[in-house]
Symmetry: C2
Subunit: 472 residues, 2 copies
């Protein structure tokens, strides 16, 4: 350990106590990286576990005084390397700051520490008869602070929007060590620039979020789930437009191609839920707006009529409508099990967004391009097509070594992102930029935008203390 770091360690022990600090190699490896493995080193100097905003301020001030950068660290479920320490940083873990502080049913708000998991937030909301509607698979580990720092999306964006839409207030420790209190119980506060918005989605580069006030929604009375077999990408979009024109309240419209379903069936040794395979599948969820059997029946009839019209129009091959909540969960599992089913093929993932209207056109270009440039590599697509958000997966052939595979797919990234750019898309729909897409950022943000981002970074963190090297 270099002398500077020994001084910093002493300062941190003095501030937090020795038990709130670790340089155990196993801890450094565990807390030093998120779920993205990109070939960069994982090498933090220390991990600290503050228990209060004042602790976080002390950590940031000590690191600033010693010139050692800080990586704010939540549940580390990110997929872009934004929570990975590669250059001797101090990892500031929020995991000991997990309290739900207050739920106000009349105001429909929840206030909690940044280290509370998404699951804990959802559970506390549900206990008050309310809903925190941002939802994604990693919710048991993902922390709300990280969810804000990445402006997390998930499976209900179509109905409820992104994390940004649910943030009323936050407390954030700046690079100066100062604690800023932004918003909170106020719904309205038009007094100059809304600084909250800067921290949301900034991937820990502008401040450390330590407390959050969230809006909550009223949960729907009930929901209905259908799995649809669809002949083509174009039919998927036609079905989406049809459902949006109807009076149904669509809460999910999730896409998976035939390859994805095949891998799920192989993984769990299951059978096709239809009598014959289709090219594409869509999981549809609609909300039942009011309680009671009549409303449920009415929504079921409406959904049935809508799917029958889609069938007449050639948009539908087949459809299964869940009759019970257990069946609904089973249909959702075809979508939710994809990532796990693909895991053993070490997929190279891209998380892109497109204007919804251009999804089919993009896929019609992407599939043959992969076939031509990456022979032997299976290309799969699933995602939140109602938001224009596709998760593209390139699978490693069984007979190809990992590094040879990564060389091939990384070499293809530029072509992919150029294709995304040509379709007015974004190279990161919801996972963020982090380390993974930093060198590709120019496909989505021009030089002026990057210069403005750097200027803003310099205003908030002139010494580059917070999560340096991420985003740009």
């Amino acid at each position: 350990m270099v002398p500077d770091l020994q001084d910093l360690r002493a300062a941190l022990v003095a501030a937090l106590g020795a038990e709130r600090l670790s340089d155990d190699p196993a801890d450094l490896a565990y807390y030093g990286a998120d779920r993205c493995r990109g070939g960069w080193p994982v090498q933090p100097s220390l991990v600290v576990f503050p228990r209060s905003p004042a602790d976080v301020q002390a950590v940031v001030r000590a690191c600033a005084a010693h010139g050692v950068p800080v990586v704010p660290s939540g549940g580390r479920t990110g997929l872009a390397g934004a929570a990975t320490a590669t250059r001797g940083e101090v990892v500031l873990s929020l995991e000991r700051m997990y309290q739900i502080l207050e739920v106000d049913p009349a105001a429909r708000t929840l206030r909690c520490e940044a280290g509370a998991t998404l699951q804990a937030v959802q559970d506390a909301a549900a206990a008050a008869g309310l809903l925190y509607p941002v939802d994604y698979a990693a919710k048991g580990s993902a922390q709300i602070g990280g969810s804000l720092a990445t402006n997390a999306g998930g499976v209900k964006v179509l109905r409820y929007g992104l994390t940004r839409d649910w943030v009323l207030g936050l407390k954030v420790v700046l690079a100066s060590g100062e604690l800023l209190v932004l918003g909170g119980a106020l719904v309205k506060n038009n007094t100059g620039y809304d600084l909250r918005q800067l921290f949301i989605g900034s991937e820990g580069t502008l401040g450390v979020i330590v407390e959050v006030t969230l809006k909550l929604a009223r949960p729907p009375a009930d929901s209905l789930v259908a799995l649809c077999a669809v002949p083509s990408d174009a039919a998927v979009l036609a079905l989406f437009a049809r459902l949006r024109r109807s009076s149904l309240t669509l809460s999910a419209f999730e896409f998976l191609d035939h390859g994805c379903l095949n891998h799920v069936l192989a993984h769990r040794r299951g059978d096709l839920p239809f009598s014959r395979p289709a090219a594409r599948y869509v999981l549809v969820e609609v909300e039942v707006p009011v309680p009671g059997a009549a409303a449920l029946e009415h929504t079921r009839d409406e959904l049935g009529a809508c799917l029958a019209e889609a069938d007449d129009a050639g948009e539908l091959g087949d459809a299964v409508l869940a009759a019970t909540q257990a069946q609904a969960r089973a249909l959702w599992a075809y979508r939710e099990d994809i990532s796990e089913s693909l895991h053993r093929h070490t997929p190279h993932k891209a998380d892109i967004a497109l204007p919804v209207a251009r999804v089919a056109e993009f896929l019609a270009a992407w599939r043959p391009l992969v076939a031509e440039r990456l022979p032997g590599i299976e290309a799969l697509c699933f995602g939140h097509v109602g938001d224009g958000n596709l998760h593209l997966n390139l699978l490693r052939p069984a007979d190809e070594g990992l590094s040879a595979f990564l060389d091939r797919v990384h070499a293809f990234d530029d072509e992919l992102y150029a294709l995304v750019q040509a379709h007015d898309g974004s190279i990161s729909a919801e996972h963020g930029v982090g380390l993974l897409k930093r060198d590709h950022l120019h496909y989505s943000r021009n030089a002026t935008e990057v210069a403005l981002m750097r200027g803003i970074k310099a205003v908030l963190d002139p010494a580059g203390l917070l999560n340096p090297g991420k985003i740009f």
Copy 2:
């Protein structure tokens, strides 16, 4: 006209044509101010009327080259002086850029030029069977660009949120003259800092918004309106909490005190809608979630049951439930006619926000404070109490001259804002800061926040070209 300005005028004539430029004193007075009269001079040098983003770029570049600042100008319905030119600025009016460019029913988006009125946007959405839900009284004149620049609120915030929640994309001309395209058709785009958010609510100080892409909602099937007579501020909050706990979808919860209703009745020579007066009134609107007579009846029964329970609990003196749309409009008019009814008393207004839970406590302190400090001045309160947003009005006594009145009420502002601050409130809920509240900004934003705002302003507009002197 000073030589510099003659050069600028020549440059603007060359860029836009002479007919797109005016220095007629009547135009300067008309386009040089918004609805806020604060004692400052109204003295722009010129008014220009660009017809395209390229025109706006040319104006900004010419003004930058000649060192003459620019005031971006929409419908000038603002109430804080943010669109008023006091120092020889060029007023850049967006009124000739009013086209609705595109409505996409499947994506539920609308794209338009910044000078389109809120009414035009609402009408274009309605023509596609959709709803742009931000709504306020000045919609016939207010332009969507100004609506974004002030993050406008209005009467449906409780249900649909602020303008910020409905912005998907914008095109903005920077102080450098560069056109930035931010977002648009993409729902998701997590690629670094969300620069869109900076421009929303920045009151024209960071860029000139020239085009907007908005999200649209599906309109409710129907709605029900009730006017409630309520015995006290505390009962207003209890009634609000009761309605929020119910399964009703509350779309408005508007408050008016007895004084407001009296002025409305005097103005239109009408009668009290109840058999006897109450201390407070609340206009309640709930949505009928699905079409059909059964759903309407069900919602009516639910609302009736909820109000009956409120009556039993002592929260309600009386209530009138509209049976027809005409009756609903008539009930809304009691709320909507307040501002016009008060106009002849030249009210001094404050637009404040509080945590909803602290509204009654604040009013219990504010009313006696006004009575003590401002003898003879009638104090009225109405507003969007479901958002914690109160519009406080101090009326000029008939026998008091305007300037004596203004001296008294302006001297009281600091006490008012200190009281707001002590209740964790904001000195501007929705009207913004502009010139009017600039000197009071410190009651809502601390020195660090103001320093960060100034830093951000310097990044985007280093020469202070855009709307100088507004906000801070």
